[in-house]
Amino acid sequence: MNSSLQQVTSQEYKYGFVTDIESDSAPPGLSEDTIRFISAKKGEPDWLLAFRLKAYRHWLTMKEPAWANVHYEKPDFQKIVYYSAPKQKTPKYQSMAEVDPELIRTFEKLGVPLNEQKALAGVAVDVVFDSVSVTTTYKEKLSEVGIIFGSFSDAVREHPELVKKYLGSVVPFSDNFYAALNSAVFTDGSFCFIPKGVTCPMDLSTYFRINNKESGQFERTLIVAEEGASVNYLEGCTAPQFDTNQLHAAVVELVALDDASIKYSTVQNWYAGDKNGVGGIFNFVTKRGLCKGRNSKISWTQVETGSAITWKYPGCLLVGENSIGEFYSVALTNHQQQADTGTKMIHIGKNTKSTIISKGISAGNSSNSYRGLVKVMPKAEGARNFSQCDSMLIGAKCSANTFPYIEVQNKSAKVEHEATTSKIGEEQLFYFQQRGIPAEDAISMIINGFCKDVFRELPMEFAVEATKLLSLKLEGSVG
């Protein structure tokens, strides 16, 4: 390894600052009382409290999963703060004028202006700070075409029938350990409903920020696209730099009815811990889409660059005939990061199709695993899957693994799996350098080439952001 390969991966995390803001928090610890406290804080209806308590009681019977290829000290669930909200006079900001200027400055620093005049043109943003949604831009404008977009808590208050109908319908509370925990203690998140026949006129987005050192973030996102509706949804996340680990256990549920389409893109940049693996977010997330209707389509695109540990498998249940599930992923790990991520494509209906493109990049001492399940059920006549999983290693101390699981119960199904592992080694780098290209530019070009099939699925601004982010993350790792 020449000296330039070592330099390209030790960029400082630029979102590591803490906002000094008074917060209204629950005491640490988890019990039925904590759950009642959260539910009361949010003024929830009884059915929702009952849902939470049922989930909690089930969670108590479950064990933390141990099958993932990650190693960490298990979180002490009694030390976590389950509710933390910036203190405010009114229960919910009615307008921007009431939002604490400190919060506005925080999000401006993060590149997410809350003021609609300054906001990204064509993107509506719901902003979640620790446990609550702070504000949502363009809410009024979207409601003119019947789109409901805003915080989960608002949706519970204003559209309880919709929330009740779809909550837990894709990820039941009993699904897994972290989904059960989330179902018991979730505090906020985004809710999005696109009515029949409506194409959402702008991209919708949620920005998640963990600020409190002791708090976990347990958000819940629910997106429903009715018949013929379509929406592009983007998710971004950052957290301050602490020397302790914070837990992020989210649940995201997507429902697409006949001819509907949902495209969900994530750029995950939670704090990853320092070079020695101290601190960082534990990112244990359950994301699933239900292609309920005929010809429906759900597409996941993720760029995973942050977190100390990532455990995440956005998947699709392909129930409707001719429905389509897609998963495009770039997962980059550096230093001591560990990622075990992939997807689940469950083919249930006839002629369902899925595509999986996964690109794993490992540098430093990190470990990066792709884990994917393609399952074709007996009635999924004519199901098709194509999977491609490529891994790239930078340096000699990192590792990459691929765990593909394929279960086919219908003879007419066609499942293809391709996998490659390559290395940015001396030879590739030397070739670029010999043409006058410095090592850092070379690595950035090689990585972007490697990820091209995924980046082209991202919305323009996100793609530019993701490209920059990968280069920054790798700065100093090549030498």
Partner: protein, 252 residues
Amino acid sequence: MLSIRNLSAAINGNEVLRGINLEIKAGEVHALMGPNGSGKSTLGKVLAGHPTYKVTGGEVIFQGKDLFEMEPDERARAGVFLGFQHPIEVPGVSNASFLRLAYNKKAEAEGRDELDPLEFDDFIQEKIKVVKMDAAFLDRSLNEGFSGGEKKRNEILQMSVLEPTLAILDELDSGLDIDAMRVLGEAVNHQKSPKRALLLITHFPRILETVHPDQVHVLSSGRIVKSGGMELAMELEERGYDWLKAEAVGRG
């Protein structure tokens, strides 16, 4: 332009070059020949700064500067070009964007204007004619799925884009059929200039019939054992390398 003085180099502790002396002047074309394992390719890589080779003795002065004081990318921007024997494949990176970045890095170092993608396209369209390359190659991933001949053609294209002062072409002729060899030989001739020196590393004299070197050197066991003109290359074609090895041993 290039003075190699008593150069020794090793890989994994094994000395591969054992005291090379070579002077190349601007405008000259030199051919470096020799059997497998004689150190020919090593010399090219050492001059270009490949990280696995360690210089163990001697010095190389390139245009008045100590070459070994410079990083590999600095050497390239200063005008050293190595045409690779086995160009590496880089998926997803288009040939055109790679070439443009390389061009612009050199332009930047020389204080010239960088070219935007449209300007570069005009520039490159002229260049590809010389190597008789299809424009479709520009949009393909760098060397990915290229045949042996296409890769070599691409190396010469890169050379004509970067316009180096010193071009070292490592076994340009290996894996080429006769027609391709002639096209590339002519493309190399096109690159001859009073300001440019060429060092051709090759096993076989055939390409030299097109390129006509001013001097031919034979390398054996890490030393230049004989130098001469084109007639030396022809003699090697007839007699092989063994007699030279014997001569070297007899002398040594």
